[in-house]
Symmetry: none
Subunit: 198 residues, 4 copies
DNA sequence: GATGAATGAGTTTTCATTCAT
DNA sequence: CATGAATGAAAACTCATTCAT
């Protein structure tokens, strides 16, 4: 019998072994040689598990997101107010823990903008939809608890979009000096309109 | 002196001669050979006028923005309400006329995200600041005309960011089916809060 | 002993399992991976039975030739004249039934011409000699039956060579529009000289 | 002004600089690196003049054929009889001078048989047609001079094909011990039928 | 100042072969 | 015996950059 390898596990191993490489460089700037060397396998082995560099990126993100979600869920459970939850939800764009994931996210958006493939767009759509629903759930809950007005549900899209827009601006320009502050200011402003007046 | 003017003119000529190339391809995918051939000059000549491909992109955008601004100013002058002006201001992200400029803009953001250089960040900062001020001016005017509340000035950042965020989402995911509609909905929602109640 | 028989059987099984692959692709274009997968065995197993891809080709051809010979013998028995027999003998180069074998034959000649090995040359020699003798036998018989002149025996080589030359020309150039016609014309021409004048 | 190079001359120079390489190896076995090194230019330079290895082969053959034709014409002019001319014409397949050209020819046929491209087939067709016409002209002349019968014209195809078939057999098998002898025997046999009986 | 021929480092990709299980 | 994971050498090809004219 030949060596039976858990293909999925091996994919994960290779991906994680070179995750730092992907944090520090954009996919375009990484060569298969470098990736293989870093992962401690031969170039051919990379091709046994991945069809292209993007797939490795997908794998890394998938693994990291699993952990990220657990932590996020935990952090959310510690927040009692809807506003608090939304702020925690939005801290992905600036907090220290998600620095790495954020780097990869930048890479994803960059690829989507410059040379989009169906795969990457689908991948992005899946995740965007997932997090959007999640946030919608939080807002819905806030409505049910009478914290915020029913119309608030229509502002979820705007909050998400503004978060993302502020993040992009903070990365691609020098205009945003303190992203954390800007995001929280904008959430405060939105909640001004969303919160039930007593 | 005269020579310097000539040099500037030649830069512009080269840049404009290959602008279509830049609309249709991302900078990363264009080779100097292709650019030179399209511009009808030798490869060496490109190096006499530009240090890298990005600089050509800068030149094209600069020229195009000049025209774009004139048209925008004209369109704005035809709008009487502040809301109308903001909508016209935001239509850059979806209107037909700015399709080309938008393609270049995507390229800029992509570069900023994946391998940012000081030059491109400064370039982006300049333009972002310029348009931001412009929009702020419009809102300021609306406040002075008593159309909208003084606090509205603090929402300019959010409006801009949400526009940008929606645009990025429309490009990098399949989530936004109709960008024009989403942008206008979100502007309407914001103006609900900004407009003075009579 | 029994084991050796088994080994031979297994070789044949593997070879036949992937014969279609060899019809459709030239040996050079086939990878061991593809062959192994098609044969339904592991890559390592191929190496247990064959030293190289050519050997698999030999095996396939050997098996196919056995059947081909039976059919040919049967077809020849149905022909009464020597000319008829020679034509049937030569139809290998254009008939529909031998299409596959012909594809393999092309591959053999190609290998012989570009990077000949002792093995392939011996293999080719064996078969060429075998068929040459066969044809010689037919001509001999025709002489004995007084159908053709005794000198005809010296033209066997020419007939064979011309058949082969026409085939090669039909494959490597666009000069031969209808190979069947050309081969039959040339055989007719030769028989003009070979047939006993009554 | 940049260096103006006679592109055609440079192609020829590169091709000739590595012709020995092509005599000794089949195209498939040659790498661009080796070719470039032998020609004394960089790898990139090869690509500036040729799209693939076959094109280099074409170039070499074209140059060599030019010389070959001159020599052949000269040799033919020294022959007075049609039979002599045909023999001289056919000596390409075995004479010492054309050894190199013959090696390339083998390569051509091998490629045509294993992985034919339109280009190579057209190239082969052109040359085959050219030499075929040439030989036809010689036979025609013989007919006009009353040396051979008018029907001889129909045997040109057979003579060519048999020459080629014998050559292929001599290369791909051990059956032909002395190609020169076989070719001349077969030409003698054909002329037996073609020559006018006095 | 303009040119474009030459370059070679660097990249992706393939695949025969090995060998631990 | 059979397997198939791992490998790395080798190949094709690209392209920014230089520099002689």
């Amino acid at each position: 019998m030949a060596i039976i390898v858990d293909k999925e596990q091996k994919k994960r191993d290779i991906a994680l072994a070179c995750k730092d490489l992907f944090f520090q460089n954009s996919v375009k700037d990484l060569s298969i040689s470098t990736i293989a060397a870093t992962a401690g396998v031969g170039k051919g082995t990379i091709y046994n598990y991945f069809n292209n560099k993007e797939e490795i990126l997908f794998e890394i993100v998938n693994v990291l997101l699993r952990d990220h979600d657990i932590v996020k869920r935990e952090k959310l459970s510690r927040e009692s107010t809807t506003k608090g939850k939304i702020k925690v939800f939005s801290d992905f764009f600036y907090n220290e823990e998600d620095l790495e994931l954020r780097e990869l996210y930048k890479d994803f958006v960059a690829i989507s903008l410059s040379s989009p493939s169906k795969e990457i767009k689908d991948f992005q759509t899946n995740h965007a939809t997932y997090y959007h629903s999640w946030m919608k759930g939080i807002v819905q809950e806030g409505i049910e608890k009478n914290e915020i007005t029913p119309e608030s549900i229509n502002l979820v899209q705007t909050i998400c979009a503004a978060n993302e827009g502020l993040f992009i601006a903070s990365v691609s320009t020098n205009r945003i000096e303190n992203l954390e502050r800007e995001i929280n200011l904008h959430i405060d402003a939105m909640f001004n309109f969303m919160e039930r007046k007593k």
